[in-house]
Amino acid sequence: MSTSLDTRPALGTRKRAVAARKRSRTIAAGVLSLPLIAFAAVFVVYPLITGSMTAFQASTLFDLAGTFNGIDNFTSLFTSDGFAKSAGFTVLFSAIVVTVEMVLGFGLALLVNRRFPGKKVFFTMILLPIMVAPALLGIMFRLLLNGDIGAIPALLQGLGMSVSLFSPDSVVPLLIVLDILQWTPFTFLIIYAGLQSFPSELLEASAVDGAGYFRSLFSVIMPVLTPVLFAAFFLRAIDALRTFDVIYVLTAGGPGTSTTTLSIYIYKAAFESGDFGRAAAAALIILVCLIPFVPFIVKRIASTGMEKTK
């Protein structure tokens, strides 16, 4: 004789309960995702669709309704010197500034990660440039660097150096230096935050194994910080490729088109030429060129970094 001790509900009832739970979880997930979906729809999907449609239209101030013109906008971009030149300048400018900012930001983060007198003041001073709006910074630089009334040329002159900071030969290096001054604090901040959560036992272990400072830096610190470094690099690279404010305020892309970035090119196409189709096409090309890099970067950011020390 056997007595069943199973007090669980019948299989059908259990299945129904599981299904109900699943349903309620799905509803909850849907409800909780709504704000994000709405955000994405309003600020990503809608502009992306509208922008993509505009890129295939002859949409100008004279024809606001826009008429489909196939790939004319793209053809005009690829056959114009201006777009290629601005793309070349933007890539070169971004490569230089991001590389230097990463190296300097990392160095500063290592420096500030130690104890020394006045560290808090130093820390705050480093961060000041990123607290100022870029356009405002452009105006400040325009005043500070003015050859007739600016403090910096006056200081250089006092030191016996006569430099024309805005001459065609020096304006590109000047823009690079200004970008580095403005954005190195950003890479510093991200890398410094990464160093704060760095497991100290790893350094202790490497010291016990006899590793010197540089060996620890290259074989322990950098591999562990890889996701942080990639995050800093990714954010800065994206921002550098969109550089607009300071350069626009200082040079408006000139002399000629020698300092025209892609953003300035797009801005001028839309708001000076009133050619929204060409501007949207240029923006779409940039997007398509950048998208393939995203999974690669995201993969690096998502990795733990710890695996590389094993």
Partner: protein, 440 residues
């Protein structure tokens, strides 16, 4: 999974439908002739002067009209960009746009023509510049033109000293190929301008009281095209002849070469490759340059002891060498998509009166009405010169739908050549082709 995708799709669709509900207005309406009129303006002397006129109207005539004008100040640099965005979305947010003779053709599709405005009190050149396809699309408000602003004390010292005159003759022979006597700036031609730029530069004349003779406005900026146009017109050139681009002319080459010579010989600061209005003011105020072709609005500040302590009282004003000055009018236009057009028109009619423009002049503006300028010369000593120079030397560039783009494109194509980076002929060839495309 499918359900989730469906839900996400539904949410996106719902949002898109909601967004469609936010679609821009499809057309304007007259309104009942009363209520609030929103008008764009930009900061600076014109915006400040307009604010006073608006205040006076709201406190007086506006009460009778049942209209309150609300002025919306956008940034000086990006006013037109923001207006372009509003026009692109056919927005009815603003009833009146801030426009100018150099962009009214471009904006015309989003503006209503102004019928029934008596334009006889305005400078004809200002009205011409705002007329597109035989219709007036904007009400002239403020006129801008150029002058030669120069250091009277330095010129007087040169003219009074025989040794300096001899030095000037030497330098002018070197620069122009023939020796010239120094002249009063009121009678300079472009050769005098060039020779004087050399004489007052320490690179050419170590005894010069100023480091540079002049300051060029050579930044890649549409407003700098307007300044350079004075030189082009002064040499007898023009943008176009009979509808065809004419920048392949000898006059155009001379005009670019003059800039390039001044820049490469260091008769202007090397920084002038990025100079515009404020940098020109700074060079004159600091005493590093002896003269410059500059906008009319600059003169008052240069002779103000508070703003220009080093040079106030030493500055004088003369026509642009070569005897041609660009003239443009800043103006206000009626938004085609306004929901309150009748009230906006009432306000515009008020602005077109000499009384309103007198208030505008008293508040620091330079109204486009010669009689008002003449009657108010006590307020601003430059008013009579403005009147005279616009009447006698003023020209306006050809108005066509893409005039605004043409200014920008010319600055882009020529700014490298202005500072000697690109040969004049090469830059002009590119500029001419681009201008021809824009002319259509």
């Amino acid at each position: 999974m499918l359900k989730r995708q469906l839900m996400a799709g539904t949410a996106i669709l719902a949002t898109a439908v909601m967004l469609a509900g936010c679609a821009p207005a499809s057309g304007g309406t007259d309104g009942d002739g009363t209520g609030t009129v929103k008008m764009v303006s930009w900061p600076g002397p014109e915006g400040e002067a307009m604010a006073k006129v608006v205040e006076a109207y709201n406190d007086g005539q506006g009460q009778d009209d049942g209209i309150e004008v609300e002025m919306v100040l956008l940034s000086r640099q990006d006013t037109f960009s923001k207006e372009t965005a509003l026009m692109a979305s056919k927005s009815s947010d603003m009833d009146i746009y801030w426009t100018a003779s150099y962009n009214v053709g471009q904006f015309a599709a989003s503006l209503d023509p102004l019928d029934g405005i008596d334009t006889s009190s305005y400078f004809p050149v200002a009205v011409d510049g705002l007329t597109y396809k035989d219709e007036l699309f904007a009400l002239p408000l403020d006129v801008s033109n150029h002058f030669l602003l120069y250091r009277q004390d330095l010129i007087d010292a040169l003219l009074a000293d025989p040794a300096s005159v001899e030095k000037y003759r030497e330098i002018s022979a070197e620069v122009l190929g023939t020796a010239r006597d120094p002249k009063d700036p009121q009678t300079w031609d472009l050769d005098d301008y060039k020779a004087m730029a050399a004489y007052f530069s320490q690179s050419e004349n170590p005894e010069s009281p100023t480091e540079y003779g002049t300051i060029l406005q050579a930044k890649n900026l549409l407003y700098n095209t307007m300044v350079w146009n004075d030189v082009l017109w002064g040499y007898g050139g023009n943008w176009a002849e009979d509808g065809e681009a004419a920048l392949n002319s000898e006059a155009a080459e001379k005009a670019v070469q003059l800039y390039a010579d001044i820049y490469t010989n260091k008769w202007t600061s090397p920084d002038s490759s990025q100079a515009e209005f404020p940098e020109t003011q700074a060079a004159l105020q600091s005493g590093s340059a002896a003269f410059a072709i500059q906008w009319s609005a600059a003169f008052a500040a240069l002779n103000d002891p508070e703003q220009s302590p080093e040079i106030a009282g030493k500055m004088a004003i003369a026509p642009v060498p070569g005897g041609q000055t660009h003239v443009h009018a800043l103006s206000v236009s009626l938004n085609k998509y306004s929901k309150n057009k009748e009230a906006a028109k009432t306000w515009l009619s008020y602005l077109a009166t000499p009384d309103a423009m007198t208030q505008y002049a008293e508040a620091g503006g330079i109204p486009a009405m010669p009689d008002v300028l003449e009657a108010n010369k006590a307020i601003n000593p430059a008013f009579p010169q403005v009147s005279e120079s616009i009447a006698e030397y003023g020209y306006s560039e050809p108005v066509f739908p893409k005039t605004f783009q043409a200014y920008s494109k010319l600055a882009e194509d020529l700014s490298g050549a202005w500072v000697g980076q690109v040969p004049a002929k090469e830059a002009l060839e590119i500029a001419n082709n681009n201008l021809q495309d824009l002319l259509g």
